[in-house]
């Protein structure tokens, strides 16, 4: 079960750890230089990630067994090592980009290693299909990576770019969770938090920090999480694409009318531009969750209360003293029911012809007031004149109505 408090605590820990690492390095490692700030950023993110994941107690296997294990044990450390390596002035820029693109090209294959897509007697992907899919993923990640680094070079307010990436990673985590993969989603939270802590403390130390390293780690993290969510979890291709490309909306501030604005305005606009599609996406994901997964959880939370009611109802019927069910606000799964032409939201309540919000309100009322007979609550509330207009699915209820009227 998801534990929001644990996620918040892990994010807080990652943020503080990232900030403390950067501030400590900035304080003790003098004289400061751009390269040292970059190294401090990598160490800060690494420290924040370590603290966050330790706090989160993610279940990671050694040797790595699944995609998430390989992301946390191979891909993310590799990205950190490459970004740390590129901070040394002796490393030529071309070599740095070669290493980055090599990682972008291989991370997809690393993540799907030993899965049904590429392994087994009959893999789901043909060799050509695997090459096309993985190449497309790598190319998209490399393009996003290159464009964001280019943007950070050519315009002010570069700190807003890793912050926009952190925002996207956070939304990716929530989307993956809402799609049904809790661990995969939770893995995103320390990354976004560590980035925010690191960038915040870097900004305190210097007015225009070099953010190539945080961008690199974040793009690799974002790409990996999306691949895990898409190939192993329930994330759809469209959602994954939107999440990957959303940070590119930072380029919107390069329009002539916006480009000459003060740095903080540009930064704020970038975050806003990225946040709008992300908010729409989260809303959509939440609706899908409410429609498909929430009924399972609601049944779980209602089962104890309803179980008591069922027992009472059963005994009552056996003794001939308890009336049959008139109105059933008990949510049901979408699996075993017919919609009968009603709107989709009503399908959660198969024995109920009222709107969905009405049933939910009824359930809340039953819980708040501890009504011992939640199913019979409406018997009192509905005027007798309107009872005849109700549609019932079982004949016993119809008999009950006729007796009442």
């Amino acid at each position: 079960m998801p534990d929001p408090l644990l996620y918040v605590a892990a994010q807080g820990t990652a943020t503080v750890a990232g900030a403390v690492f950067v501030l400590a390095i900035g304080w003790f490692w003098k004289p400061v230089s751009t390269a040292r700030f970059q190294a401090a950023a990598v160490v800060g993110i690494a420290g924040g990630l370590g603290a966050g994941y330790y706090f989160l107690r993610l279940h990671v296997a050694w040797p790595p067994l699944n995609g998430l294990d390989r992301f946390l044990i191979i891909v993310l450390p590799a990205a950190l090592c490459i970004e740390l390596g590129t901070t040394f002035s002796r490393v030529p820029r071309s070599l740095a980009w070669l290493m980055r693109f090599t990682l972008a090209a291989t991370m997809g294959r690393i993540l799907v290693h030993d899965s049904v897509y590429v392994s087994g007697a009959e893999p789901e992907w043909s060799p050509m299909q695997a090459v096309v899919v993985l190449f497309t993923c790598s190319a998209l990640i490399a393009v996003v990576w290159g464009l964001l680094v280019f943007l950070s070079v050519r315009s002010p307010a570069s700190v807003s770019i890793p912050l926009a990436l952190a925002l996207t990673i956070q939304c990716t985590g929530i989307s993956i969770m809402l799609a049904g993969y809790l661990q995969g989603g939770a893995a995103a939270f320390p990354l976004s938090a560590a980035t925010v802590g690191t960038i915040g403390s870097l900004r305190l130390l210097t007015s225009s920090p070099n953010v190539h390293a945080p961008i690199g780690v974040c793009v690799v993290g974002l790409g990996s999480l999306l691949m895990i969510g898409r190939f192993f979890g329930g994330l759809s291709t469209e959602v994954a694409l939107i999440l990957l490309l959303a940070p590119l909306l930072c380029w919107g501030t390069e329009l002539p009318q916006l480009r000459c604005r003060p740095g903080w305005v540009v930064g704020l606009l970038r975050l806003l531009l990225v946040a709008i599609p992300l908010a729409a996406l989260l809303l959509q994901a939440k609706r899908k969750f409410d429609r498909e997964t929430a009924p399972l959880l609601m049944q779980a939370s209602e089962s104890q209360c309803d179980g008591e009611m069922h027992r009472r109802g059963g005994q009552g019927l056996a003794a001939g003293s308890m009336p049959p069910i008139l109105h059933d606000c008990t949510p049901r799964s979408l699996n075993n029911m017919s919609l009968n032409g009603r709107k989709k939201g009503a399908a959660m309540y198969p024995n109920c012809c009222r709107p969905r919000w009405f049933c939910q309100r009824q359930q809340v009322a039953n819980r708040v007031t501890h009504n011992p007979f939640p199913r019979y609550g409406l018997l009192i509330q509905i005027p007798s004149a309107s009872i005849s207009t109700l549609r019932f699915r079982d004949t016993s209820s119809a008999i009950m109505v006729s007796n009442l009227s």
Partner: protein, 194 residues
């Protein structure tokens, strides 16, 4: 006369040696898992008050049964984790995700025997059970083994139960939540002679 005596002696000698040194020629019977007449189901505790039942709809396997020398018998079963069915499509989809069976990474749940011995009413089979990428030794008590020839094909059936802890097989402890850690797998398997 001389020729018939020679043949008689040769037959005696041949009969002696074949009886004394030749191994019995009866080999183990080979069977294939009959998916139509077999069932693999499971149940797990929900909120520690009830049981949730489910089944796996697709599996394949084979076994060889040597009744004379049970140690030569072998049992193999491979369950397709993707075929999980709990009579609720949304829950099935959720169970296929990495927090539970992770069917894209671990498409099968496998059992392979390592040692078989006869017990009263069946066989005790030791072997390796692999689920969710983890392999652990288990011991199954196969009850049954009664043969039946139906339309010229030999059939044999066994039933067994296996109790296991999901946490032993690398399932995320946080995902265990309201569903109990312990699960019971019930296998009713019918084999068709090759």
């Amino acid at each position: 006369m001389q020729r018939s005596n020679f043949l008689f002696v040769a037959a005696l000698v041949g009969g002696f040696f074949s009886g004394a040194f030749a191994q019995p020629s009866q080999a183990a019977d080979e069977y294939l898992y009959d998916g139509v007449h077999s069932s693999i189901s499971f149940k797990a505790r929900h909120l520690d008050i009830s049981w949730i039942h489910g089944r796996f709809n697709a599996a394949e396997g084979k076994f060889s049964l040597d009744r004379e020398n049970p140690a030569n018998s072998k049992f193999e079963l491979s369950i397709k984790a993707d075929s999980v069915d709990t009579a609720n499509a949304q829950r099935d989809e959720h169970l296929r995700q990495p927090d539970y069976f992770d069917t894209k990474q671990y498409p099968t749940i496998d059992f392979k025997s390592t040692h078989v011995k006869a017990i009263d009413g069946g066989y005790e089979v030791q072997g390796n059970f692999t689920m969710h990428g983890k392999t652990r030794p288990v011991t199954l008590k196969l009850i049954g083994g009664k043969e039946h020839v139906f339309k010229g094909t030999k059939r044999v059936a066994f039933s067994t139960e296996l109790s296991l802890k999901r946490s032993d097989y690398g399932f995320d402890p946080k995902a265990i939540g309201p569903i109990g850690d312990e699960a019971l797998i019930l296998i009713d398997c019918e084999g068709v002679g090759k």
